[in-house]
Amino acid sequence: MIVSAVSSIADAPEWATRLRELGFIEGEPVAVLRRGQPGGEPLAVRVGVSTFALRKAEAACVRVRPAAEGR
C-alpha cells in the first residue's frame, strides 16, 4: 500500500503534521504489521523502514491506495 493522503481530525488538528513528520508522507509505502488485542488496537504500522504504533483514530487519518496503481 502507498500513502495517498494524510489528514487530521477536528479534535486533533496537529495530527497530519505529526504523521508526516514521522514519515507518513504521500507516496511512501506502508503496511499494517500487527494489531493489538483486544479490539484490534493499537496497530503496528511500517512506513518506509520505521515502525510505529498507532491508535485506530490516528491510522484512520492516513489514506492509502494499492501500490500497483503506481505513483
Binding site: 479534535d11 503534521t17 505529526r18 508522507i25 493489538g36 503496528a44 518506509g48 504504533a53
Partner: protein, 631 residues
C-alpha cells in the same frame, strides 16, 4: 573596586554544543561516549523534562559543554520534551543560553526521517555538524552511507560515528573544534522557528534527491526486527513472553536482593553498635544510633531492589522491547484511561514507589504521567511488608481454609489486590470525572531491536542510584533527624511512669490526633507510632515497639510485639490498621519524590490529601463492619 575594566567572561562559560536528534537515534549513547561520567542530570526549570549536561575536552585542551537535548521528530513541538528542544535551539527557554553549535545525530539505518530533521536544524541558523551514527549497523544491513557525499549534499560537515565505540568520536571532536568559533544570534523569534521547521513534504522531496544521489533510495527494513516482532507482537504469544519476562523480573527483584539487603541490614546494625559502643549513653548517641543510622539504614536497605529493577528496565529500554510491552498492554490500560506506557512504572512501584515514580519519565503524555504518579503509591511496596507481617502474624490464625489455601497468605494477597483495585478505580474516576483530555495521541515508534550496551546501562544505573542516594543524604536524613527530635524532646519529667515517647512532641502529637483516629479503633499507642511512621511505613513497627516500652529493635521487636498487641487490641482494630496501611501515604520520601518529579507542591499535597482521606474511610468502614461482625 570601581575600576570598570571590561571583563572577558567567555573563559568562564565554555562554548555550548547541543546534541539533537530523533528519539532512538543513539543520541544519548553518543553523549555518554563524548562526556563519559562527567554528566550532570537535573530538570529544566519549571518542567519535568530531564536535562543532561556534560563536559568534554578537545585535543587542544579546549573545554566544551555538551547538552543532550530531548529527542524530537521535528521542530514543531508536540510534547513538553520537544518544546524544550525547540526553545533551547531558538534561545527562547528561560535560564538556558542558546547553543553555539548543533551536533545533529542521525541514525544511518533510518535516514529519510532523520535527514528531514537535519534540514530543519540547518535552517535554524546555528553551525551544524552531522554525526552519522550506527554506521556499523547500516553496513551489517548491506549498505554504506558515503559521509563525504552526504556532506556535499547537505552543505555541512558529516562525521561517521558508532556511538557505542570510541571510533568516530575523534573526528567529531576535530569538527567541533572548528565549528564553534562563529558568532550566532542569542535568540531568534518564534516565527523564525516555524519557518525553520518547514513543510515535511518539501523536505521529503529534498531528502529523496539526496538519497538518490547517494544511491540509497531502496532502503530495507531490519529483517531481525521484523521477524522478532512476528513473535513478540503476536496477539497470543506476545503477552505470554511479556508475562514470563515480568515474572522473571519480579523474582529477581525479590530473590536477588535478599542477600545484599541482609548485608545492608547487618552493616547498619554493626555501624549502630560501633557508634553506640564508642559514645556514652546520652542524647548524641541516641541521635546517631536511633536517629541517623537506624533511619537511613531503613531506607538504604531498598537500594538493592532499586538497582535490580532499574537494571531490567534499562535493559528493556535499550534493547527496544519497552515500547513493545507498551504496545501489548495499551488496550488493557486504555480501559482505565491510561496507556501502555504506565505499566512499567506501576510494576516498579510494587518494589518501591520511588523508582516507580522516577520511571514515569518514560510516559510522554503529561496527563497519563500525572495519573500514574498519583496511583503509584497504591501498589503495595515492600516497605509495607513488615507492617503486614506483624499484624497478620498477630491476629490472623495460621490455618488452612477451603482448598488448602493458607488463611494468612490469603489475607496478604487480599491486601495486594485491594491496592490494585483501588488504583484501577481511581484511574477510572479520573478518566470519567476529571478534566476532559483531548483525544489522546499514541503515535509511538517501535524502534529496531539492538543489543543493549552495558556501558550505557551502567551509566543509566549509576545516575538512578545517585538520585536515590542524594535523596537519602538530603531530605530523608533531614526528616529522620526531625522525627528523632520529635520523639525525644522534651524529656519525660522526673519519676515519670510511662514510656518516654509519651511525653515527647511525637507523643503530644499522637494524643492530639487521637480524636481523629479513635473512630478507626486506634488507641493512643497506634496514633503515636504513626508519627515517626511518616518517614517510612516500616518505621511504625519499631515505633510501636518503642511505645510499648520494649528495648529490643528491628526483627526482635516484631516477634516480641506480636503477642503483646494480640493481647491488647481487638481484631477490628488490627484489620482497621491493615486497611489504613493499604492507602495511607506514610512515606515522606515518596511525597518528596513526587514534588521533585512534578516540580511543585500541588501534586504531593493532593496525593497526601486523597490518600489520607481514602485511608481514613477504608479504616473506618473496616472497623465498623468488623466490630459489628465480632460482637
Amino acid at each position: 573596586m570601581s575600576t570598570a575594566v571590561p571583563v572577558d567572561m567567555s573563559h568562564l562559560a565554555p562554548p555550548l554544543v547541543a546534541l539533537v536528534g530523533n528519539p532512538n537515534c543513539g543520541k544519548t549513547a553518543l553523549f555518554n561516549l563524548l562526556t563519559g561520567s562527567r554528566q550532570k542530570v537535573a530538570n529544566y526549570a519549571g518542567v519535568t523534562v530531564e536535562r543532561k549536561e556534560g563536559v568534554l575536552r578537545t585535543r587542544s585542551g579546549r573545554r566544551l559543554a555538551v547538552l543532550d537535548l530531548p529527542g524530537t521528530y521535528s521542530l514543531v513541538p508536540h510534547s513538553p520534551d520537544e518544546q524544550v528542544t525547540c526553545d533551547v535551539l531558538s534561545g527562547r527557554l528561560q535560564g538556558e543560553r542558546r547553543p553555539d553549535m548543533i551536533i545533529a545525530v542521525v541514525d544511518a539505518t533510518h535516514l529519510p526521517r532523520q535527514l528531514r530533521l537535519v534540514l530543519g536544524l540547518i535552517r535554524m541558523g546555528l553551525p551544524v555538524v552531522v554525526a552519522l551514527n550506527m554506521t556499523d549497523l547500516a553496513r551489517a544491513r548491506g549498505f554504506e552511507v558515503d559521509a563525504a557525499k552526504l556532506s556535499r549534499e547537505l552543505g555541512v560537515p558529516v562525521v561517521s560515528t558508532v556511538a557505542v565505540k570510541a571510533r568516530g568520536a575523534e573526528a567529531l571532536l576535530a569538527e567541533l573544534e572548528q565549528g564553534v568559533a562563529k558568532d550566532v544570534a542569542l535568540r531568534i523569534p518564534a516565527q523564525a522557528v516555524a519557518a525553520a521547521a518547514g513543510d515535511p513534504r518539501e523536505d521529503h522531496r529534498r531528502v529523496r534527491e539526496i538519497l538518490t544521489a547517494l544511491g540509497l533510495d531502496a532502503l530495507q527494513a531490519h529483517t531481525f526486527t521484523m521477524r522478532a516482532d512476528q513473535l513478540l507482537l503476536n496477539p497470543v504469544l506476545g503477552p505470554v513472553v511479556l508475562v514470563a519476562l515480568l515474572f522473571l523480573i519480579f523474582q529477581a527483584v525479590f530473590a536477588w536482593a535478599e542477600a545484599p539487603m541482609g548485608w545492608i541490614e547487618a552493616a547498619t546494625g554493626a555501624v549502630g553498635d560501633l557508634v553506640g559502643g564508642l559514645l556514652p549513653e546520652g542524647l548524641l548517641r541516641s541521635l546517631l544510633v536511633d536517629g541517623i543510622v537506624a533511619g537511613l539504614g531503613g531506607v538504604l536497605v531498598f537500594l538493592p531492589q532499586i538497582v535490580i529493577l532499574f537494571f531490567f528496565i534499562l535493559l528493556l529500554e535499550e534493547s527496544g522491547y519497552l515500547p513493545r510491552a507498551a504496545f501489548l498492554l495499551d488496550r488493557l490500560m486504555g480501559g482505565v484511561g491510561l496507556s501502555g506506557r504506565s505499566f512499567i512504572p506501576l510494576l516498579s512501584s510494587f518494589a518501591c514507589a520511588i523508582p516507580g515514580i522516577m520511571a514515569t519519565r518514560t510516559i510522554q503524555n503529561p496527563r497519563d504521567r500525572w495519573v500514574t504518579i498519583m496511583i503509584a503509591p497504591l501498589m503495595t511496596c515492600s516497605a509495607r511488608l513488615p507492617v503486614y507481617a506483624l499484624l497478620i502474624g498477630a491476629f490472623i490464625p495460621a490455618r488452612e481454609v477451603a482448598g488448602g489455601l493458607e488463611l494468612q497468605g490469603l489475607v496478604l494477597f487480599a491486601l495486594y489486590i485491594a491496592g490494585i483495585v483501588s488504583a484501577i478505580a481511581i484511574a477510572w474516576l479520573v478518566k470519567h470525572f476529571g478534566a476532559r483530555d483531548r483525544t489522546q495521541t499514541l503515535m509511538m515508534e517501535l524502534p529496531d531491536y539492538h543489543w543493549p550496551s552495558m556501558r550505557n546501562i551502567a551509566i543509566g544505573l549509576w545516575q538512578r542510584v545517585m538520585i536515590f542516594l542524594r535523596r537519602v543524604g538530603g531530605i530523608i536524613l533531614a526528616l529522620t533527624v526531625l522525627l528523632w527530635f520529635l520523639a525525644t524532646f522534651p524529656a519525660p519529667p522526673e519519676g515519670a511512669a510511662g514510656p518516654a515517647i509519651e511525653y515527647s512532641f511525637a507523643g503530644m502529637l499522637g494524643s492530639f490526633m487521637l480524636p481523629l483516629f479513635e473512630p478507626l479503633g486506634f488507641n493512643w499507642q497506634i496514633a503515636i507510632s504513626l508519627v515517626p511512621g511518616m518517614a517510612a511505613r516500616e518505621v511504625a513497627v519499631s515505633a510501636l515497639g518503642t511505645v510499648y516500652a520494649l528495648s529490643a529493635t528491628g526483627d526482635d521487636t516484631a516477634e516480641a510485639l506480636a503477642p503483646l498487641i494480640a493481647a491488647s487490641w481487638g481484631l477490628p482494630t488490627a484489620l482497621s490498621l491493615l486497611a489504613w496501611f493499604v492507602f495511607a501515604p506514610q512515606c515522606l520520601s515518596t511525597l518528596a519524590t513526587v514534588r521533585r518529579e512534578t516540580g511543585g507542591w500541588r501534586a504531593p499535597l493532593l496525593m497526601a490529601g486523597y490518600l489520607f482521606g481514602l485511608a481514613w474511610l477504608a479504616s473506618f468502614a473496616t472497623f465498623r463492619i468488623a466490630s459489628s461482625c465480632c460482637s
